[in-house]
Amino acid sequence: MTSPTLTNTVLYLDGVSVTFDGFRAINKLSLAIAPGEMRAIIGPNGAGKTTMMDIITGKTRPDEGEVFFGGMIDLTMLDEAEIAALGIGRKFQKPTVFESHTVADNIRLALAGARSPFSALFGARNRIAEERIDAILSTVRLTEHRTRLAADLSHGQKQWLEIGMLLAQDPKLLLVDEPVAGMTDAETAETAHLLKEIAHEHSVVVVEHDMAFVRDLGCKVTVLHEGSVLAEGSIDAVSANERVIEVYLGR
């Protein structure tokens, strides 16, 4: 891949590899996400989905390859906080919210704005408009749980809260790792709807196992296998691809 594609991508990976103690988690992975695009990434366990997210968000440094954001910013040079500040939000596989804070506070902490300890100590962060919190809570359908401790939420609600926190960050790119794991069908449908809503003004990358869910999303699909791209295209196209069937759907 070369620069023309690079310039008009929000996220761009080229020839990225990383190894843990000899095991190649990511192998010459290349991927490009256009602005405003929604992309589903599927693949068997150990295909390197989560590791890819670690690399994009600066948690893991790649051994080789380049990772660019918005065309020109080299993510391999930055750490999590800086990358988050750039506008990349991430939702973990296992829902991680601040259990000993109320739902509202979870959102409050996530809302865009100054992040330095001093702004947090003296004012700035303490004067956050409740309206914005309300807005987000209503998008993620948690308004009535505003004052509850995050710890007391149901699994699905936690997933949503975390998505809500992503929204609060108001990122250009959302990385969503298995958002519907352990959700009821109703919740799953809800989530799909929610993500599509979000995708209107953000680029979204969704990692998921649940094929039905991916189908609901109705977006371009990338299949990872052993750390590199196996196939790319519409859900029907990839489901037709026999190598995909062989390594993944087949089982």
């Binding site: 843990f20 103690d21 590791t51 670690d54």
Partner: protein, 532 residues
């Protein structure tokens, strides 16, 4: 034998000594001096006795050495034999009844030296090789010129090469200091000592270089530089050895912790007390041996090892069942509880055995040292190194090769999965903790050989142990091994320059900075597993 000796001595001490040999009366004078009880006179007495060449000399001096030479109320000098029999010192004839209130002749260092020198000259031709070796060394130390002739004679008869060499060195030592000796002899002596090339030789050579004819001085200086070069290299090696032995001690102290803390994640502040318990077990076993079976004393350590393991392991089981079991998943709480436990254990031991140090003796094979190409290797340290490596490998095998080890690893890696596979996790926890404690106990057996056996024993090792485990990387036994040895050797190379205190400080600072570079120690696992 004695006549011969007398003859030789006569030759040795020349004209003025000749009459001495003739008259055993001198023995009488010597004994009078010895009976005086005044150290300087006793010393004179010994010297006189040594020169007298009386057949009784050796017997008397040996008796003196062993504290069997006594002075009776009636000023007679007597020798105490086996099972309380007594004999006249001068003549050796046995006494019918015990002499009135015999008082053993007291020794001090000067007299001990005189005795050594005298016996050295006397036993140069003893039938027993060991005795001859000792004699040669004694003469080398005493440099007693009067022994020269005997020495020549002995060298001529000596078969054992090693001993002959020693005698040669002794001879050289005497000649070098002897004003009478010719330059040729002296230069020859210099060469012999140059081959010996140890501190003592160096000292002699320095002395020779200080006084003596230019030629001798020149030869000596040449030899000195050579010896010094050799010693410099040796001291490097010596440092490595010291480092190894210190490292092995650290390893022993830390290895149990590597299980309870490293593998199980329990911040076990009572670890040091487990070591202490092991040491006290050793003490108890030795006490039993002393009182009941003195013959078995050398076996106390081998015996103590399993016992210490057992005792410490049992205490471990009690702690785990009683306390730690309720704290899994709350590692920091374990710190507090085990801290409490350590206080209790210390006080318990203090009330049981008293607060003072207890004596744990060294069996014959742990005592003394031998020379390895100029390196002094002390047996105690050697055994401890061997021992610590043995324990380490045993542990590795236990964890890697046995089903028990497999279970431990399974449980520590994924408790729930292991449980669902039918492993009784709580049982495994207990066993693992017992294992860690037991090994700590075993370490105590070794440490009892080099350190205080007191209730504070554990406290002095706990901090170091944690350092070692963390530096090596928690949960990685090989890391613990490497870090223990690294810290040990580094410490020993720093000590000569920085001194013991500063050396240790530097090491700690290094450790802190090192953790910055590798926040999970030397051998950290990489990848996602760590985060989980």
């Amino acid at each position: 034998m004695s006549r011969l000796l007398c003859l030789i001595l006569a030759l040795a001490c020349g004209l003025f000594a000749a009459p001495v040999c003739a008259a055993p009366a001198d023995t009488g004078d010597a004994l009078l001096l010895i009976a005086s009880g005044r150290f300087p006179d006793i010393e004179k007495g010994v010297a006189l006795l040594a020169r007298s060449g009386d057949a009784r000399t050796q017997a008397i001096i040996e008796a003196l050495r062993d504290g069997r030479l006594a002075v009776a109320a009636d000023k007679r000098v007597v020798i105490e034999g086996a099972n309380g029999s007594w004999s006249e010192a001068a003549t050796g004839e046995a006494l019918a009844e015990a002499p009135p209130s015999p008082k053993a002749v007291r020794l001090n260092n000067r007299i001990r030296r005189a005795v050594e020198a005298a016996l050295g000259a006397l036993t140069l031709m003893a039938p027993d090789a060991a005795a001859r070796r000792q004699a040669a060394e004694a003469v080398f130390r005493s440099r007693d010129a009067t022994a020269l002739a005997t020495l020549d004679e002995a060298i001529a008869r000596e078969e054992v090469a090693g001993i002959r060499r020693l005698m040669g060195e002794a001879r050289a030592a005497i000649l070098l200091g002897d004003a009478g000796a010719s330059d040729l002899q002296k230069i020859e002596a210099v060469d012999i000592l140059a081959t010996r090339a140890d501190q003592d030789a160096l000292a002699l050579l320095r002395a020779a270089a200080a006084q003596g004819s230019p030629t001798v001085r020149e030869a000596a200086e040449g030899a000195i530089t050579a010896v010094e070069r050799r010693l410099a290299v040796l001291s490097m090696l010596q440092n490595v050895w010291y480092g190894l032995s210190l490292g092995s001690v650290l390893l022993l102290a830390a290895i149990g912790l590597a299980i309870t803390f490293g593998v199980m994640g329990i911040i076990n502040m009572a670890h040091g007390e487990m070591v202490m318990i092991g040491a006290y077990t050793t003490f108890v076993i030795q006490e039993l041996a002393r009182t009941h079976a003195p013959g078995l004393f050398d076996w106390t350590l081998p015996l103590a090892i399993p016992m210490a393991f057992l005792v410490a392991a049992l205490v471990g089981v009690a702690i785990e069942r009683g306390i730690i079991r309720h704290l899994y998943g709350r590692p920091l709480e374990t710190l507090l509880a085990t801290w409490g436990v350590s206080l209790i254990l210390q006080q318990t031991v203090r009330s049981l055995f008293g607060p003072t140090n207890r004596e744990v003796g060294a069996p014959s094979y742990m005592a003394g040292a031998f020379d390895l190409g100029g390196l002094t290797i002390t047996y105690g340290r050697l055994w401890i190194i061997v021992f610590s490596f043995a324990v380490f490998s045993a542990l590795i095998v236990a964890l890697k090769a046995t089903s028990f080890g497999l279970k431990i690893r399974a449980v520590t890696q994924n408790r729930r999965m292991a449980a669902s596979m039918g492993i009784r996790t709580s049982w495994v926890d207990t066993m693992a903790f017992a294992l860690g404690s037991g090994i700590a106990g075993v370490a105590g057996v070794a440490l009892s050989q080099i350190d205080n056996v007191s209730p504070n024993l554990g406290q002095s090792y706990i901090v170091d142990s944690f350092m070692v485990v963390v530096f090596g990387g928690v949960g990685n036994l090989w890391g613990t091994l490497v870090s223990a040895l690294t810290l040990g050797i580094a410490n020993k190379f720093l000590e000569p320059f920085a001194g013991a205190v500063l050396g240790k400080i530097l090491l700690l600072v290094f450790l802190i900075l090192f953790i910055q570079k590798r926040p999970r120690g030397l051998f950290a696992l990489r990848g996602r597993a760590v985060e989980a």
